[in-house]
Amino acid sequence: MARADTFKRDVAPVRRAGLVLEVTAVTHRGRVREHNEDTIGVGRWTCGDTMAAPRRSVHDFADARLVLVADGMGGHAAGRQASRRAALTMQRLTLDDGERPEVGDALRTVNRELFATAAAEPALRGMGTTIAGILALADRIVWFNVGDSRVYSVRQEFLRQLSVDDVPAWAGPGSGRITQALGGADAFQEIRPHVGSQSARAGRRYLLCTDGLTDAVPIETMERALSHNDRAFARELLDSALAAGARDNVSIVLASVRTGAVAG
C-alpha cells in the first residue's frame, strides 16, 4: 500500500556477465495482404512467414546480438527478398567474426548491396525495405532505423520512441510515404541512417515493430498492454492489429535486457 519514493534510480547497472537478452518475436501477413513481405531477425534466425504464436528465445550478451524488423516493398517477391536480404546482410556484417563495421556503415553497406542485387536481377528492380532494430553490445544497446519501422523503449507506463520516422513533414506517419529506405529506387541513393545508443542495463525493454502495427493500433491502445509479460504483450499487440483489420503485414519484436542465465 505504501508508495515507495518513486524518485529513485531503479535501473541499476548490472554486471555484464549476468546480462541476457530475452526476445519475443512474431510476424504475421495480416488480414488483407496475401503474403508477408516483413522479415524479423533475432540473432542469426530470421522469419518471414506468418507465425502461429510469438517465439521466445534468450541470448547471451557475451556475443553481439542483433534483433531487427524489416518491412519490404516492391511487390510480393521483391519486397520479401528485400527485407530478407537486408536482414541477412545485417546479420553477416554485425555478427560474423572479424572486423565489424559501425551500425551506420553496416546499414549503408546493406543499402549498396540491395541496389547491386536489384541492378543484377531485373525481377527485383526497385525492391526496398525499411529496417529497425537493436544491437546488443557488451555494455551498450545500439538502436537504429531507416524508413518508418520503429524502435520504442518500453517504460513501465508508456512507450518512448527512439527511432526517427523517415516520413514527409507534410504527411506525417501513417501516410504510407517514406523519405528513405534501403534500396527502393531505380537509381542508387545514399541513406542517412538514424542510430543511437543507451547503456545496457537490466530492466530495459524494447519494442520493435513495422508500420503494420503502428498504423493499425493507436499508441494509447498499445500502452494499455504494457503491464503484460513479453509474450502476452506481443500477443495482445498482434491481436489488436488483427482486430483492427491488419491491412498490412505486422511484425512485433520485444527484447528485454535481464540478468540471468541463458536458457537456450
Partner: protein
C-alpha cells in the same frame, strides 16, 4: 544548314537548323530523315567532347513511357562525342505560351499545367532522376488544343554529373529552391541528415515558382539580379512570395510547395491530393524554418520542429515546450531519438545531449522527466510545471485549494509535484529561489510524518498513505495558509467516537498538533471512530468475562486487548483483577467456549487498513488518497 553530325547520325539524317544551345554543353540541331518515307523531324543533341550522359539513365529514359517527357529515340557515341536523338517539339515552350496568353493565365489553364507537370515530374522521379532546372523555358508544348506539355532538358543533375560547370551558369536561380544557393538552414539540415529529404523536393519548389508566376502574372523575382535573388532566398521569409495570388486555395498550394525546408515541401502526392480536393484536411502547411539571419541563430543550424514552429536553439525550444506541457510530454515521449541527435549533431552540444539522455535513467516520474528536459534546454526559463508557473507561493496556494475548495485539479498537480520531487529539481535551477528551503523543510516534515506513522502502526492504526506527503509539501512553507486550513479540517475530524481512540488522541489537539499530525487526523478519522465505538462496548464485555470465567477468561480478554491496545484505556483495570474469583471454576470447559465466543463478538472488526481508508468520509484530500493516476509515474 551548317552543323556537324556524328557519322552514325549523318548517315540517316541531315541538319535542317541549329537551335540556340544553352549552357554550352552540347549543340542542338533540328534534323530530318534522309528517308523520304519518314517525314518526322527530330532534334539531335551532340555533346561536347568529354561530356558523356550516363548510359543507364539514357536507356531508362528511352524505354520510359514518353507521357510528359521528351521522347529519347536513340543515343550513341562517335569520334569521342556523345549524341542523343530525340523528339522535336515544334510548338515552342511554356514560356512562349505564357507570353502569348498571359502574363496571367486562367485558373483552368494553370490547373491543366499543374496536372501535367505533376505527372511529368512523377514520371521523371520514378526513373530516379530529378530535373533541377524546371522553368517555363524547359517545358515544351507538344500540342495546344488540347494542351499537352512535355519536360525537356531534364538531364542536368542526374544524367551528366560532368556538366555541372557548364550548366551552373545556364541555370537561372529564379526557380531554384533555397538549398540550391547553399548556406541555408534547410541545406545544412539535409547534409547533416537531420531531416530526411526526399530527393525530388527541389523540382517542387520550381513548380511552385512557376505557378506563382502564372497565377500572379509576374515572377516574384522579376527584375532582380541573380545576386539579389540569392540574397532574398537566403535571408527572406518566403511566405510573401505567394502574396500576388488572390485565390486562397491556389495560394495554399503555392505555400505548400514553396517551403524553405525540403522535408516540409509538398510533393507529388500532396499536389495530387490538392488537385482532387484543395481543402483536403490531410494537407498541412508545415511550418517553415526561418531564414538563418532572421532567426538570429548561427547559420547552418538545422531546425527542430515543435507545434508548428521551427527552433534553432535549445533555449527557444525549451521555452516553447514549457508553454505547452501536454505537447511537450508527447514530444519527449515520441521524438526522443530525434531530439538527442539534434542536440549532439545539429547544435553541437554533446554534453547537453548526454545530460538529457541521463534524465531517462535517473528520474522515474514522467512529469519530472518533462520538467527536467525542458529546464535542461532552457535553464533560465522560469520554472513551469503542467502549464503553470511554479513558485513556493503557488505550491502553497495549490495546497490550500486542494484542502479548502476540494479542488481535484489542484490536488492532482500537487500530487504530481510531490511524486516528481519537482521542488528539489527546481531548487537546482538558476531561477529556483525559495525552492531549496522548501525542499529542506519538506524533507524534515516528511521524516516526522514517517516516524509518526510508524508509531501509529505499532498501535494498530492503519498504514499512512504516502500521497499525504503531497500536502506536507504545500504545508512546508513558513506561514503557509494551508496550515490554518488543515487545522479547521482536523477539528472537524475530531468526533466523539474518534476521540475515544487512544492513538488518535495521541496525535494531539488540532490547535497544537504538528503539521504531520494535522494531515493525519482527518485521514485516520474513520479508523479511529471504529476503534472508539468498539471501545464503548468493551467495559461490559470485560465485566461479564471477569465475573463468569475468573482467571482463565480474564487472561483471554487481556490477550484480546493486548492485540488491540488502541482501546485498552477503556477497560478499567479493576475488572481484570477479578481473577481472584477464578478459583471457583464453575463448568469450566463450557464457559471457556462461551467466553471465547463473547470475546470474538466484542472484538473490533479489522477489515484491514485499506478497507478503512477507502471508507473515509468525503475528506478534502480524499482525492489525493485515491488518485492513482497511471502514466504519472514510471520505472523500468
Amino acid at each position: 544548314m551548317a552543323g556537324w553530325l556524328p557519322a552514325s547520325l549523318e548517315a540517316d539524317y541531315r541538319v535542317i537548323e541549329a537551335l540556340p544551345a544553352r549552357g554550352g554543353e552540347a549543340d542542338l540541331y533540328v534534323v530530318e530523315p534522309r528517308d523520304p518515307a519518314d517525314a518526322v523531324r527530330r532534334v539531335a543533341k551532340v555533346y561536347r567532347q568529354g561530356i558523356d550522359p550516363k548510359e543507364g539513365v539514357l536507356e531508362r529514359v528511352r524505354d520510359a513511357d514518353p507521357g510528359h517527357l521528351v521522347h529519347v529515340e536513340a543515343y550513341g557515341q562517335d569520334a569521342g562525342r556523345s549524341w542523343v536523338l530525340m523528339e522535336y517539339v515544334e510548338r515552342g515552350s511554356l514560356r512562349m505560351f505564357i507570353d502569348r496568353q498571359g502574363p496571367q493565365l486562367s485558373d483552368a489553364v494553370v490547373l491543366q499545367v499543374l496536372r501535367q507537370l505533376n505527372e511529368a515530374l512523377t514520371g521523371l522521379h520514378r526513373l530516379g532522376m530529378e530535373h533541377r532546372d524546371l522553368k517555363p523555358d524547359n517545358v515544351l508544348v507538344r500540342s495546344r488544343a488540347p494542351l499537352e506539355l512535355v519536360l525537356s532538358d531534364f538531364g542536368i543533375a542526374s544524367v551528366m554529373e560532368a556538366t555541372v560547370h557548364f550548366t551552373a551558369t545556364a541555370r537561372t536561380i529564379r526557380y531554384a529552391p533555397p538549398e540550391a544557393i547553399g548556406g541555408v538552414v534547410a541545406d545544412e539540415a539535409d547534409r547533416r541528415g537531420m531531416v530526411a529529404i526526399e530527393h525530388t523536393t527541389w523540382d517542387y519548389w520550381s513548380l511552385g515558382m512557376m505557378l506563382v508566376e502564372m497565377l500572379a502574372g509576374a515572377h516574384p523575382f522579376a527584375g532582380l539580379s541573380e545576386a539579389l535573388v540569392a540574397h532574398q532566398l537566403a535571408t527572406r521569409n518566403v511566405d510573401d512570395l505567394t502574396e500576388g495570388i488572390s485565390d486562397p486555395d491556389w495560394r495554399r498550394l503555392c505555400r505548400g510547395l514553396l517551403r524553405r525546408t525540403p522535408a516540409a515541401r509538398w510533393d507529388a502526392e500532396a499536389v495530387a491530393r490538392w488537385i482532387a480536393d484543395p481543402r483536403d484536411p490531410r494537407l498541412v502547411i508545415a511550418e517553415d524554418a526561418l531564414p538563418a539571419e532572421d532567426a538570429g541563430a548561427p547559420r547552418h543550424t538545422p531546425p527542430m520542429y515543435f507545434n508548428g514552429a521551427a527552433y534553432t536553439t535549445a533555449d527557444e525550444l525549451g521555452a516553447a515546450l514549457s508553454r505547452e506541457w501536454r505537447l511537450a510530454e508527447e514530444f519527449w515521449r515520441r521524438r526522443y531519438g530525434e531530439i538527442l541527435t539534434w542536440l549532439a549533431d545539429g547544435l553541437g552540444l554533446p554534453d547537453l545531449r548526454a545530460a538529457v539522455a541521463r534524465i531517462d535513467d535517473g528520474i522515474v516520474s514522467l512529469d519530472a522527466q518533462v520538467f527536467s528536459f525542458i529546464h535542461h534546454l532552457a535553464p533560465h526559463a522560469p520554472p513551469r510545471f503542467r502549464d503553470e508557473d511554479i513558485s513556493p507561493e503557488t505550491i502553497a496556494s495549490l495546497g490550500e485549494r486542494a484542502v479548502r475548495d476540494s479542488d481535484a485539479d489542484a490536488a492532482d498537480t500537487l500530487l504530481a509535484l510531490y511524486r516528481g520531487r519537482i521542488p528539489m529539481l527546481a531548487g537546482a535551477l538558476p531561477n529556483g529561489e525559495g525552492f531549496p528551503e522548501i525542499s529542506d523543510r519538506w524533507d524534515s516534515i516528511v521524516e516526522e510524518y514517517r516516524e509518526l506513522g510508524q508509531r501509529l502502526r505499532a498501535q494498530g492504526a492503519p498504514e499512512p498513505h504516502d500521497d499525504q506527503l503531497a500536502l506536507l509539501l504545500a504545508a512546508s512553507l513558513p506561514d503557509s495558509p494551508l496550515v490554518a486550513a488543515l487545522r479547521d479540517h482536523a477539528w472537524d475530524a475530531c468526533t466523539e467516537d474518534a476521540w475515544r481512540c487512544r492513538w488518535y488522541r495521541d496525535l494531539g489537539s488540532p490547535d497544537t498538533a504538528s503539521v504531520a499530525a494535522l494531515v493525519m487526523l482527518p485521514y485516520l478519522r474513520t479508523a479511529a471512530e471504529r476503534h472508539g465505538r468498539a471501545a464503548k462496548a468493551r467495559p461490559l464485555r470485560g465485566c461479564v468475562g471477569g465475573l463468569v470465567t475468573g482467571g482463565v477468561f480474564g487472561r483471554l480478554v487481556a490477550w484480546a486487548d493486548a492485540a488491540d491496545p488502541g482501546t485498552g484505556i477503556f477497560n478499567p483495570p479493576g475488572f481484570q483483577d477479578a481473577s481472584v474469583w477464578g478459583g471457583v471454576a464453575l463448568l469450566l470447559l463450557l464457559v471457556i467456549v462461551f467466553g471465547v465466543a463473547v470475546s470474538w463478538y466484542g472484538r473490533p472488526s479489522y477489515g484491514g487498513a485499506a478497507d478503512e481508508v477507502s471508507s473515509l468520509p468525503a475528506s478534502p484530500w480524499r482525492g489525493l488518497l485515491q488518485r492513482d493516476e497511471p502514466g504519472r509515474e514510471e520505472g523500468e
